[in-house]
């Protein structure tokens, strides 16, 4: 089950990386306000940096056989914080229905959150 969740999480991260690159290529999320465009764009950029750092940290620890429970828990908590920000504050501002990648990211996000949460709980329980 842990490996399945791990696969789901990394597939989602692949889609998210592609989405972030596409967003940069088209110059950001279309919106009526330039400030809102900039807010969304800068958040996508900083989130991508955080995700790349945490994913690299996780992969390095997995490859070297070190314990990953702390990094998985940190990743899960940050994923929940970002999800709450989008849901409660940004009202899904990142969702661009015209982009296929945005749709995929939006619809697979609950799976990603659940998978990462399961990984965090399992890693904490078995101290892997």
């Amino acid at each position: 089950m842990y490996k399945l969740c791990e696969a789901i999480v990394f597939i989602f991260l692949g889609y998210y990386a592609a989405f972030a690159l596409q967003m940069n290529a088209i110059g950001g999320i279309p919106s009526e306000s330039a400030d809102a465009v900039f807010l969304a764009r800068s958040l996508v950029d900083y989130r991508t940096i955080f995700i790349v750092c945490l994913a690299s940290w996780y992969v390095f620890f997995r490859v070297t056989g070190k314990q990953v429970h702390t990094v998985v828990t940190i990743s899960a908590v940050l994923a929940w914080v970002m999800f709450l920000e989008d849901l409660l504050a940004l009202e899904n501002a990142f969702f661009v229905p015209e982009l296929t990648l945005a749709k995929i990211v939006q619809f697979t996000r609950p799976l990603f959150i659940l998978g990462l949460t399961y990984m965090a709980v399992d890693a904490q329980r078995s101290k892997i």
Binding site: S33, D35, A36, F38, L39, S42, L43, Y46, F50, H69, T70, T73, I74, V77, L78, V81, L84, E85, L88, A89, L90, E91, A93, Q124
Partner: protein, 175 residues
């Protein structure tokens, strides 16, 4: 010689006792601050009180409106900025409450400390970049310095708290 061997035998747990210890119900009971901090190191206590004082002061200043003109939504016309700040300060309050609750429940704070540090890092990086976008470095440099100092202090202190908690835990069990 025989006496010392007898003493050693007395400390060996039987298999039934070991199983009973493993299966013992782990009840969560709230202790007092005095009890919870009794086995902690002096540094842990210092970090804990400084974190609580800084976070509480920061949250109170925000909730009485003292930061409205200085944070990103004071400079931008985006309602999402306001919503984002409300949510982030609410999460800050939740993190502080969680830290105190876990301490009183006598839980380990290592992972929680690092989770809090990573959340504050995320808030701080995106918050500072928003302030820099609006030229706050030139128009309100004092606030930017205070903002950065508070965030960096909280990040460092929560990580130190996590390490100190492990040290306290290790010293408690080695007694």
């Amino acid at each position: 010689m025989a006496d010392s061997n007898d003493d050693e035998v007395k400390h060996i747990l039987s298999h039934a006792e070991y199983e009973a210890l493993l299966n013992a119900p782990k009840e969560l009971t709230l202790s007092t601050y005095q009890e919870a901090l009794a086995n902690k190191t002096l540094l842990f206590k210092i970090y804990f009180f400084v974190i609580s004082a800084i976070t509480a002061s920061y949250l109170i200043t925000y909730f009485v409106g003292g930061l409205d003109a200085h944070l990103a939504y004071g400079w931008s016309s985006v309602p999402e900025d306001h919503q984002l700040h409300k949510l982030r300060f609410a999460l800050g309050f939740v993190m502080l409450a969680t830290l105190h609750a876990l301490l009183l429940l006598r839980q380990r704070l290592y992972t929680v400390g690092f989770c809090a540090a990573s959340i504050v890092t995320y808030f701080s990086v995106s918050g500072v970049s928003r302030l820099l976008d609006y030229g706050v470095a030139a128009t309100d440099p004092a606030f930017l310095v205070i903002y950065l100092t508070i965030h960096i202090s909280l990040i460092i202190l929560t990580m130190l708290l996590a390490y100190e908690d492990e040290r306290s835990f290790a010293s408690e069990w080695s007694l």
